[in-house]
Symmetry: C2
Subunit: 208 residues, 2 copies
């Protein structure tokens, strides 16, 4: 599963953190754990490799174990599962987001998730072993990781609420409010799948 970061404006935060790295540390830990984490991995030069995917190419397919964490450098990706021949898009990643098969990452088992590039996309990877020793190397890193997991739990709860919301308009409004950038970055047909509606319904709601 995936580490979608749907709080928007990460690029600005990323630049801001780069400029102020080391200052106001506690505030950063609390305010923007993801870009803080990325800064720190950059700073220690821990990325293993850079991978470039063509549009529609897969970073991961069903049944594989993938314990890497990826940073999206350029482009965008989606995570989806297939149920009875129907694709369900469940997460997106775009520039400066972290993305992972989080189930595989946590339990080291094969995962049902597919991760696919939506356009030409470049990601940087860090493997789990290196990531865990990075996290365990300092109290601040542990605190950041805990904070990221807590935010992820909250996002998962919002997502569960989305799925249980029966009105398509309300589902749309919930996600638009939470993740306005999504609607700039991702083609309509995938947003429609994420919102569990047809692309036609989504177009109608956007026009209304």
């Amino acid at each position: 599963m995936t580490y979608e970061i749907l709080f928007g404006l990460y690029l600005l935060n990323y630049i801001f953190n780069r400029l102020t790295n080391g200052l106001l540390l506690y505030r950063h830990v609390i305010m923007n754990p993801i870009s803080n984490l990325i800064n720190r991995i950059d700073h220690e030069n821990l990325w293993d490799c850079e991978i470039t995917l063509a549009r529609d190419e897969y970073l991961k397919v069903k049944g594989s174990i993938d314990t890497n964490i990826y940073l999206v450098v350029q482009g965008s990706l989606r995570i989806f599962v297939i149920d009875e021949n129907e694709e369900h898009t469940i997460r997106f990643g775009y520039k400066n987001n972290l993305i992972a098969s989080l189930d595989s990452f946590l339990n080291e088992q094969p995962s049902d998730f597919y991760i696919q590039a939506l356009k030409k996309t470049t990601v940087k990877a860090i493997n789990k072993k290196k990531y865990i020793s990075f996290i365990e190397s300092s109290e601040v890193n542990k605190k950041i990781w805990l904070n990221i997991l807590e935010n992820f739990v909250l996002q998962q709860m919002e997502r569960e609420r989305d799925i249980l919301t029966s009105s398509p308009i309300q589902r749309y409004n919930r996600v638009l409010k939470r993740s306005p950038q999504l609607f700039q970055e991702i083609p309509n047909k995938y947003i429609a799948s994420y919102l569990r509606m047809t692309p036609e319904t989504l177009s109608r709601i956007k026009k209304s």
Copy 2:
């Protein structure tokens, strides 16, 4: 939101951990973080109070902020939300489970969740401030809490997959495999709501 623990057999684990408390600590942290955590809170005598609820009574209603964590001593509860006059049951708690409005606990904002007793139920409560200082008081406690959050992320991912599974029989089989105890503890009509099917469909599937 809630801290359902659906891995079953917690009572046995709880007794086992009480008998062996202090031994094989690392193994316990990894194998059963919840009962380990409960042991440690018991041992430090940190519970604030005990609350007894009549059947159908509410521990929490929509719009309230509740930053406590509860241990179910006796009885059972469900968590639900209401969407367009329809109740959606999203979690259960029974004996030796921890339960919380986890969104309120994490972000200290009002939560839409209701927590209701399904029969006469007793819970013990610990408030957030005390809980956080307990967690931060030792490296082992931090490790346990991280482990619990990681397990919770995995449970949330399973739950998302459940909801997106269109076949009622497959939804039933996924949850039965993961949480057999649920079907001993919780009345059919609430399990049906959790599984997003009518009680009649659930009965038909159980008989087949």
